[in-house]
Subunit: 552 residues, 2 copies
């Protein structure tokens, strides 16, 4: 590979929403942008977290110069501790808040010393990182202090947008730096890696401030307690909630470990302003009348152990909900969480609360650019090539169509997958290869592959249950010493069917022994097939059948 | 109970969307409105269908005079065959299309002779059914020939809306009969049982005709094949699709068993008009150019074996999708189906198709009244009391709030649950009691309880897998004859951990035998606890552990 060829390899985040991580490799040196995790789907039975497969980096562990974090969301920073365990990373770059939140996570993993944390300053901020001259550009998003990064090298100029939206009235006043983006466009961008999450949605997303305005309408009129649930990272939304509560004369209490932690960090770094006497601790709630308090809490996704879920099921030590209270769920369910969120809403409604959520009230806006915003970005930057990232395939394809409409030639629109190798050389980008890449599951305390076979087994077990046949065969002449024993779990049929199955197993076993079949594997196979067929005939189901032959 | 007291008992559909069934009992005679089923959620592992618990009816099997079906959707008619097996039902009432679709379902179950099918005619249609004078009122909905029913008796007048919307331009021209509803309101309605599905949504739902207009914009401009997926019962949408296809010079083929069946029935009964030469069979597709055909198919919910899903995964014998094709998913995912639908969209996008769905294009409208429509109904009917039905609790509560705003006294708004007993006597309705009611699972070929313990087992198995310990103990002195054997399924840890577990099981067993413990149950318990603790310490997980002790 020539020294002026840049290899770009997404290890996650392309073809999915989650676990964003992209490798930039030039002249034997590597810089990684983002190190995120993903949350499991129902089919990942019993998996807690999903990480990008970093074996490409582990095999090149001495070449990694830095990780650059575009912002503090889990799908961009959550895998950092796991990455630092596998790979030596001298520097981790990010803005002040991003580093503040990442640092607390590294602390929990005992990894505070694993890398030097270096602050990126988006206003005219530059750094030499590995083989790149890197520029940081301010972007508005649903967590403060987000940024795009431009990586410049002999191979050309690449702009990575990170997650962003065009918010003209962000809560902190820090707008997406369209001026600098336009200048970069004029200077010439060879390749744009752009957030595709909302590429299918026409128009613009609303300003974060719209949510504050909705709160301003809603909260002062509420007769009882107000609970506001949002993502624990949504610092601007917490700020707006706090502002409205203070103006409405309500004390604020924060419930949920991650939200308390993030609010403390954001406050100590100056990202949130809260009057000291505005905050109370949850046990103090009872000292106030319902209309004098507001509860800011986690659980906007209906997560089983989260604050709002426990409150909804009347299982929280400090907070309960009663008739006259108002609950605002200020988030959209991540696909797959809909039913859990609906369950929470129903429980809260049963307790007598009025529940406002994004389907019926303007209490949420997206943090990701819609189609018109993406067109704006494409118009400002006028990239020679576009590689849509951060999205399921349908979103990448929609972003690709927008790029084509904006004048990018079809041949320069790169629809990559995780593991694709894109080369940029003399300002020309093309898809050239792919590397092996998969996913890494975090399962209980262990990090590593939950092998596909284990997931398949769990799926199978969950659908139809398991039937274990324990048969003893005599050592010398092989005659069964007793009828096989059957153990059923997850099978609803009882009594008569189990007896019939037992009889069938016994019959098959005696028949085989009569034919002098003694090979354990063969006995198992025949037992399995006969019992499986009978249970299928009788019930239409296929439980996992495990024959255990004990030689005595 | 006095002879002029009407007991109303919802056996399903209240506190949920699905399995609608309501009992009306007066003077020892019963009429049932609707007999629907529900589809399982993920937590109902391995369950195929969910039915209302009809034991209340089975215990009064000689008192049931009739079932009245308001319309042909599964959640209103799907449990009819199961009900007819349990309970003698002399008459089943419904409109012509409802009966036509129900009849084919009864035929599949060999139950064509089980009840007399009697046609309800909504235009000034009345019937004496059991102890009631029943009136049928035309309603617009997402399946043709839907109706409300008014049950009049000495106890008072009850109006059951069924599923409905205010569509001023329905495809068949048959509007919701607001004139008759107003007359009934003037005559006096004592209790309204009203569809609550969209009570939380402000405004009005769009006319079904809007979908046709969107198709009219989209389909003629499509360069390749067009696939339209919708519910198999959505006869109007099929009609509109067919009309646009014919005008665009495309032949139509219908893929998906339920859709073919429903279209045939609707056509033979005169509910759908299709020129004979417009339809082709799926194998004939290859004889036409892509822009000359349209495929109408099932699979709008991403159901695993449905037509569109098979097409998306390139697994359909007759239909495939390629670059330039357009797929229109003309439905909204039922909560819980979102990820499956997204998977289908991504697969279709990967195959090169442009996929239009309700999030990004006006290709779907709801069949259920929004808040302003419910206000209109409440204003027309002016009921003395309201019992919101057909919805999760949050929807019922929202409908209750609308009723209160429209002037119904709070005490006359009845938020019932499945199994609640509501009495209507001398025109006054109140919640008085509840009966035991549950759900009935259809699991494989069997109908009945999938016991909670089986579901719990399946959940447990699916989360953490199963570990079986097979230990043999000698008959006389109890000394183990060999190390216990371990069988792991759904567990990702291998090798070293399993050996450690095996060693632990062996150690515990020898220790117990050394202490002369020979009681099998005690051995099992100790083995279970020791191995469970060790595996939890090592992995943080709790697989199901099944110790099997074989005495030799």
């Amino acid at each position: 590979m020539p020294a002026d060829t840049l290899r770009i390899i997404p290890l996650g985040g392309v073809g999915e929403v989650g676990k964003n991580m992209t490798v930039f490799e030039l002249g034997g040196e590597i810089v990684v942008v983002d190190s995120g995790l993903a949350f499991p789907r129902d089919e990942h039975l019993g998996v807690d977290l999903i990480l990008p497969d970093v074996s490409y980096l582990a095999e090149r562990r001495d070449r990694v110069r830095a990780v650059i974090l575009t912002h503090a969301h889990e799908d961009h920073v959550g895998a950092l501790p796991y990455l630092l365990r596998e790979v030596r990373v001298p520097e981790v770059w990010g803005t002040k808040l991003t580093l503040g939140l990442a640092q607390s996570r590294l602390d929990e993993h005992g990894l505070l010393q694993a890398a030097e944390l270096k602050e990126a300053k988006p206003e005219n901020g530059h750094a030499e990182i590995g083989p790149f001259r890197v520029e940081f550009i301010r972007m508005a998003h649903s967590v403060p202090d987000s940024m795009a990064v431009m990586l410049e090298s002999s191979a050309g100029r690449v702009l990575v947008t990170g997650d962003w939206k065009l918010d003209q009235t962000p809560v902190d006043g820090l707008r997406t730096d369209v001026g600098r983006l336009a200048e970069l466009g004029t200077a010439g961008i060879d390749l744009l890696l752009g957030d595709s999450t909302n590429a299918e949605r026409p128009g613009f997303t609303g300003s974060e401030r719209l949510v504050g305005e909705a709160f301003e309408q809603i909260i002062p009129r509420c007769p009882g307690r107000v609970l506001v649930a949002c993502f624990a990272s949504n610092v601007h939304r917490m700020q707006q909630t706090i502002d409205v509560a203070v103006r409405a004369g309500r004390k604020i209490t924060v419930v949920g470990r991650s939200m308390r932690k993030n609010l403390n960090i954001a406050r100590s770094l100056g990202y949130v302003q809260v009057p000291d006497d505005a905050l109370i601790r949850p046990p103090e709630l009872d000292e106030y009348k319902p209309h004098e308090v507001l509860v800011l809490c986690t659980g906007s996704q209906g997560e089983p152990m989260s604050a709002l879920t426990r409150i909804a099921y009347n299982d929280h030590p400090a907070v309960s909900v009663e008739r006259g209270d108002t609950v605002i769920i200020s988030a959209k369910p991540v696909p797959g969480n809909e039913l859990r969120v609906h369950d929470s809403i129903n429980q809260l409604a049963k307790a007598g609360a009025e529940v406002l959520h994004q389907e019926i009230a303007p209490v949420h806006v997206s943090g990701h650019a819609y189609a018109e915003e993406l067109r704006t970005m494409l118009g400002l930057v006028r990239p020679k090539a576009v590689m849509p990232v951060h999205g399921e395939f349908r979103m990448l394809a929609a972003h690709g169509r927008l790029a084509q409409e904006s004048g990018v030639p079809a041949a320069s629109i790169i629809l990559a997958e995780n593991g694709s190798v894109v080369e940029l050389s003399r300002g020309a980008a093309r898809l050239v290869d792919r590397v092996d890449t998969g996913v890494t599951f975090v399962d209980g305390l262990g990090v590593g592959d939950v092998q596909d076979v284990a997931l398949r087994d769990r799926r199978h077990l969950s659908e139809d249950g398991v039937l274990i046949i324990v048969a003893t065969v005599g050592g010398s002449n092989g005659v069964p010493t007793s009828r096989p024993e059957l153990i059923a779990r997850g099978i609803s049929e009882q009594g008569p069917l189990l007896e019939e199955l037992q009889g069938e197993a016994d019959r098959v076993l005696r028949e085989l022994v009569g034919q002098r079949v003694t090979e354990i594997k063969l006995l198992q196979e025949h037992l399995h097939d006969a019992v499986a067929q009978l249970i299928y005939d009788r019930t239409g189901r296929r439980p996992m059948i495990l024959p255990v032959i004990v030689e005595v």
